[in-house]
């Protein structure tokens, strides 16, 4: 991980370099991408949540996306309506 001043001193830019071997070759990569589990997608989720925690102090969650930014199982989402009493457990699982 690298932390560098952003252009014009507007904050800090965070760079992550990740080396990995994806099982299953091109097909495996396509499947992982479809399920939102491609490392670059997961990294995008992590970096956005990291920015939220640093700048706002928490991960932003909505009724539709109670786990916050997450490429995995992004759509269809929970409808944009309050979660029922049982749902939080299920949804957060």
């Amino acid at each position: 991980m690298r932390f560098e001043p952003a252009p014009g001193r507007r904050g800090t830019a965070v760079y992550v370099t990740l080396r990995y071997v994806m099982p299953g070759g091109a097909l495996g990569k396509a499947a992982a991408k479809y399920f939102g589990e491609e490392p670059s997608q997961q990294l995008d989720d992590d970096l956005r949540r990291f920015k939220q925690v640093i700048e706002v102090g928490e991960v932003i969650r909505s009724d539709g996306a109670p786990r916050g930014k997450q490429a995995r199982q992004e759509f269809p989402q929970h409808p944009a309506r309050p979660l029922s009493d049982e749902e939080p457990k299920e949804v957060m699982a």
Binding site: E55, G57, D63, G64, Q77, A80
Partner: protein
């Protein structure tokens, strides 16, 4: 919060009519709402918000900390949209979370409801401490700031002629704001007679676009130059006086090769005087055809736009309401219980029963 008043907006019609992707069955709509705080989360600063406070909630959710919020570009907040990935694919960069406005803007439950969860509650809501009625302050959540921003983006100079497309509630406020900001003449363009009458009753000139050639009418009213500033308060569901043009865009929109019908925008660009400003507050969601780039480029026009940065305007506009300079209640034609919302949507969409703006009471 427990909601005491909420309203139906022209933006809700774009959702209802299916032109904004990522709506899901069961979504709670509504982004214009106010009420009373009944519970406060553990992270909220008690000096800023307590149980019992009366608040108006701005429709875009800001975080107050990112570079966009710090520059008062609240509707472009970098942090509040958990579905930033989808928004980024659609728009190139993500946009802020918005209540009740599809999953593209975060999947937040809206305010056409009895209760709502307000996110980052110590940053966004405006506390009302005077005894102004709900109806006087409710529209601070969206349409009053939106209309005002539409006029402000025009950089109105004394003596300017300002033309506004669309005589919906947003437009009425854009016209009131243009006048407050110094416009000499304000012209309303629509084809719904009672909406034009509402504009005429405030002393604005009106043009009925189905019976008149709008560009020529505007030339008549401006000594042949065209309006100095033009505001598009219609957006993606414009209709067109000439049936063949309307049909062209309807077909393209129906087969999804164009998402928006930009008649008002095209006309605003071709009508505006050279060197003028075209300010767009009508909502567009995707892609348009036949953008008059030649008129825009060769005649040195400036195009400005945005979802309203509501938080920027709430305080100053509340002051103007308190001083009696703007009366937001003038656009309300219908007050209905929340249970009659479907009827409210019906008359607002179909311009029936003289409907200009519907307020719902849970």
């Amino acid at each position: 919060m427990k909601i005491t008043s909420t309203a139906i907006c022209g933006s809700d019609l774009h959702l209802l009519d299916g032109y904004v992707p990522t709506m899901q069955k069961g979504d709670v709509m509504g982004h214009e709402f106010m009420g009373e705080v009944v519970e406060v989360g553990s992270g909220v600063d008690r000096d800023k918000l307590r149980v019992g406070d009366r608040v108006v909630v701005p429709f875009p959710i800001g975080c107050g900390a990112c570079s966009a919020c710090q520059n008062e570009l609240w509707s472009c907040c970098e942090n509040t949209n958990p579905n930033a990935g989808v928004a980024e694919k659609m728009f190139g960069h993500p946009v802020a979370g918005i209540y009740g406005y599809s999953h593209l803007t975060g999947g937040f439950a809206g305010g056409q409801a009895e209760y709502a969860r307000v996110v980052l509650a110590d940053v966004n809501p405006l506390k009302i401490e005077s005894d102004l009625s709900d109806e006087q302050v409710l529209f601070l959540s969206d349409i009053l700031p939106t209309g005002y921003m539409g006029a402000e983006m025009c950089d109105i100079a004394d003596g300017d002629v300002v033309a506004v497309w669309g005589a919906g509630p947003v437009r009425q406020f854009a016209m009131d704001s243009a006048r407050v900001l110094g416009a000499a003449k304000v012209i309303a363009i629509d084809d719904v007679p009672y909406r034009l009458e509402m504009a005429a009753s405030q002393g604005y000139e009106t043009i009925h676009y189905s019976d008149t050639d709008v560009r020529s009418a505007l030339l008549e009213l401006t000594g042949g130059r065209g309006p100095d500033k033009c505001i598009d308060a219609v957006g993606m569901e414009a209709t067109h006086g000439a049936a063949h043009v309307d049909l062209y865009d309807r077909v393209k929109q129906a087969v999804r090769s164009e998402t928006d019908r930009p008649h008002a925008l095209r006309q605003a660009i071709t009508s505006c005087r050279s060197g003028g400003i075209v300010s767009v507050i009508g909502v567009y969601g995707g892609f348009i055809d036949k953008f008059p780039a030649g008129a825009w480029m060769n005649r040195s026009l400036t195009l400005r736009t945005g979802q309203c940065h509501v938080q920027r305007y709430m305080g100053p506009l509340l002051d103007r309401i308190e001083r009696g300079e703007i009366d937001p209640t003038r656009v309300i034609t219908h007050r209905l219980p929340l249970a009659e919302a479907p009827h409210g949507y019906h008359i607002f969409k179909n311009k029936a029963d003289g409907c200009e703006k519907v307020v719902l009471k849970p």
